[in-house]
Symmetry: C2
Subunit: 516 residues, 2 copies
Amino acid sequence: METQSVRPILIQVDQCDNVAIIANEEGLEQGTMLSNGIFLQETIPMGHKVTLADLAQGDAIRRYNQVIGYASEALPAGSWVHQFRVELPKAPQLDELVYDDHPPQTLSPLEGYYFDGYRNPDGSVGTKNLLAVTTTVHCVAGVVDYIVERIEKQLLPHYPNVDGVVALNHLYGCGVAINAPAAVVPIRTLHNLAKNPNFGSEVLVVGLGCEKLQPELLLNAEHEPIAIPKQQIIMLQDEKHHGFQSMVNEVLTQANVLLGRLNQRSRERCPVSNLVVGMQCGGSDAFSGVTANPAVGYASDLLVRCGATVMFSEVTEVRDAIHLLVPRAANAKVASDLIAQMRWYDNYLAAGQTDRSANPSPGNKKGGLANVVEKALGSIAKSGTSAIVEVIAAGERPQRKGLIFAATPASDFVCGTQQLASGITLQVFTTGRGTPYGLKAIPVIKMATNSALAHRWDDLIDMNAGTIAEGLNSIEQIGQQLFEMILAVASGRHQTWAERWGLYNQLSVFNPAPIT
Amino acid sequence: METQSVRPILIQVDQCDNVAIIANEEGLEQGTMLSNGIFLQETIPMGHKVTLADLAQGDAIRRYNQVIGYASEALPAGSWVHQFRVELPKAPQLDELVYDDHPPQTLSPLEGYYFDGYRNPDGSVGTKNLLAVTTTVHCVAGVVDYIVERIEKQLLPHYPNVDGVVALNHLYGCGVAINAPAAVVPIRTLHNLAKNPNFGSEVLVVGLGCEKLQPELLLNAEHEPIAIPKQQIIMLQDEKHHGFQSMVNEVLTQANVLLGRLNQRSRERCPVSNLVVGMQCGGSDAFSGVTANPAVGYASDLLVRCGATVMFSEVTEVRDAIHLLVPRAANAKVASDLIAQMRWYDNYLAAGQTDRSANPSPGNKKGGLANVVEKALGSIAKSGTSAIVEVIAAGERPQRKGLIFAATPASDFVCGTQQLASGITLQVFTTGRGTPYGLKAIPVIKMATNSALAHRWDDLIDMNAGTIAEGLNSIEQIGQQLFEMILAVASGRHQTWAERWGLYNQLSVFNPAPIT
Ligand SMILES: [Ca+2]
Ligand SMILES: [Ca+2]
Ligand SMILES: [Ca+2]
Ligand SMILES: [Ca+2]
Ligand SMILES: [Ca+2]
């Protein structure tokens, strides 16, 4: 045997696991001896799994002390456990889940943490002071884009206390089956988007006139209607408009009035209980579940202890770990709501003749994730350890503070849009493969799951949790740093990379109903 | 009776019709005497229908010499036939449609018409000379938007022969059930979008790396792969990229090369047979089917006679007139393809627990359209009188020239995107209520169905067909003018209003499959 120049780094999450992941950035070569005396049967890339014992065909493969699948062939100790060697287990049967009413104990309260936010008339608090222009229908998007550019160039310089202007453009509003049962989702989403706390309870509505989603429907879709003066609703087909410039001028005039009001506002010291933070992962790898996501979970617990609202989401990515979430439900209603959301999605996928195996993506697999079970176990780590106090459907707003399951698709841009509608004012986004994700309405803190990405994308990634895998930091240390960065970003004291470059996704409203 | 100051203008499409529409801009008041001696029972707004004979409850209401519905109450001559007085008839039963193999005779060829276009290596001809940046996944949209702005400001001024740069951003590519049967639609659409003739057979691909829609899939999705040099595919997760500016620089470098090549091109005289024109209506009213749409139909016949390709679409809007389209199929295959597309959509709507009555929109109804049957009869007028030579599914490219039914949703922005993918290089868009619709990749000629709209929106509407209702022009005259404007716009000699203001919709790719 040649001398080993590389010290093997293995991450075994639980002592009962029979696989571990290789943390070395270059992977490990065939023949490498691990600290437990096992020799690698083959070369294994970073983030991928190695067997720690001899597995026979059909044996359970355990990670996170959970069965992530079954060996599809014999895998002697030191084998590479790639996706084609792992048979997908059945999803937890929803009918068999029982709630035993022993939720986690309430975490000890944490006091004395504050951030500087914008207080709104409705009691919510924003992390930014933005003018929102919402729309009833995509037909007006071109006009709104044109006007937003004019607002940015001509008006904003006169209102230094306003952070920007956001066009809530979307692909809904007409040419859609607005009476289909599932249409409630996009309509509620658009309604609640306009209510996001970062818009200061102000909003300008631009509509066309003949669309299915009439302004009355958009504004009154939910229990608490959006009450705005009539002049803040501008309809392009209104007979008073003679030509395009007339439309532009009316919107600019109204924008000026709102900007004047928004400009009067300033940041005030607010308790952290006024924060609403969304957690998401995207472009995950095998490190997500051992570095960034647990660190996010630690920060999530800190936020919950401060009385803040924390949302986690991504139904298809928690589906295979639902048996671990149901026991964390604060009460039987929450447990049954959790199961109902899983069932809704099972049916939705079945109607499209597909299933949960559609996730993970090729990049997830390249990053070492064998299947959706392994992905789910890593994904739920973002939720920390506290009780789940409420479940909300896509685009709903929570009634409670604490840890909320906001049922959204896992798609990064859809989850982002839906959490925005549910009222988040900041999002934490973990990524192993890397994505330049950003939202214009709120700051997004991007955290790398591995140092290689954090170093390569040093002007896109805001925090590195990869040092956890290298043994340089504990989960608690990175979690604490993230908590502090959340307060700094929410206070406007620290800018995220997406904000600095102005990198923003478009809104992507979840519409499970047909279009016409 | 007081003296009548207003001369009543009625439009009765067919002499067998028992209703006519009121063409007077202010509508007509109760008591007005029509030229046939009938007095109005009530005041009727412009575009709405009046009964020309006494109808009993249950009597068929006829327009276009077709049954558009049944009287839901007794309607004496002179009554207002609004939506609540019309019972929706059953849709034509698809199983009962029989093709009798007597398609319309081939129209006489028309020669000697040309336009100045950009000839492509693949034989197609563009109406513009654009650089396209396509994307595999929405995750890269923020980066692409950033770069396109840089290209517009820094590079384009050096390439005077290039008309612009288009980012083919979309909300697909990941977080989607890419193996669901219906996923073929969005994947094919994105593939064919990149092939639009206005991009000169050149395209730059920006991808992330971990997405489900990998570049290989995007480029090879259809029979004729998009063959581009490897360096035109830029993946943000590529390990060679150290930071954001490295990504930006690589795209700018490649853009520069492509712009250099595109800048060598110039317009050449091409026969009209090289044109591919899409027809669409949006924000329709009761005039659509008697002014603009028949004029479009006339222009459509002229284009077909020149050997051009003409597409009409909007499945839910032709569904109720399918019995009039099947006899126009050029052969039995076309007839059965037409019926198959209707059936697909019936099933799609049923799966979403809705049906064809989801169309028309409130604005359509306000404009006088009682239901989807009446809308359909007006909508198919855009197709003219020629034989339908081919039916293509959403996002497919036709194999034949002549009149094509391109099966797309009726939604304006989705139909636009799908027709773009099917290769149109110009679109004609008729509207009665008015919409500022536009596409960045191709010119869109907007035609008003009524003069009121054309006058009010004189800097958004390119042509007025309302003079047909006023008796000032014939359908043939307006159709001929439209044909001439099509050639002028396709040649770059005339700019549409959307081009002048830069008003463009985002792309809205049809995805009937679930998202995850
Ligand atoms: Ca995720
Ligand atoms: Ca993901
Ligand atoms: Ca995600
Ligand atoms: Ca239409
Ligand atoms: Ca349409």
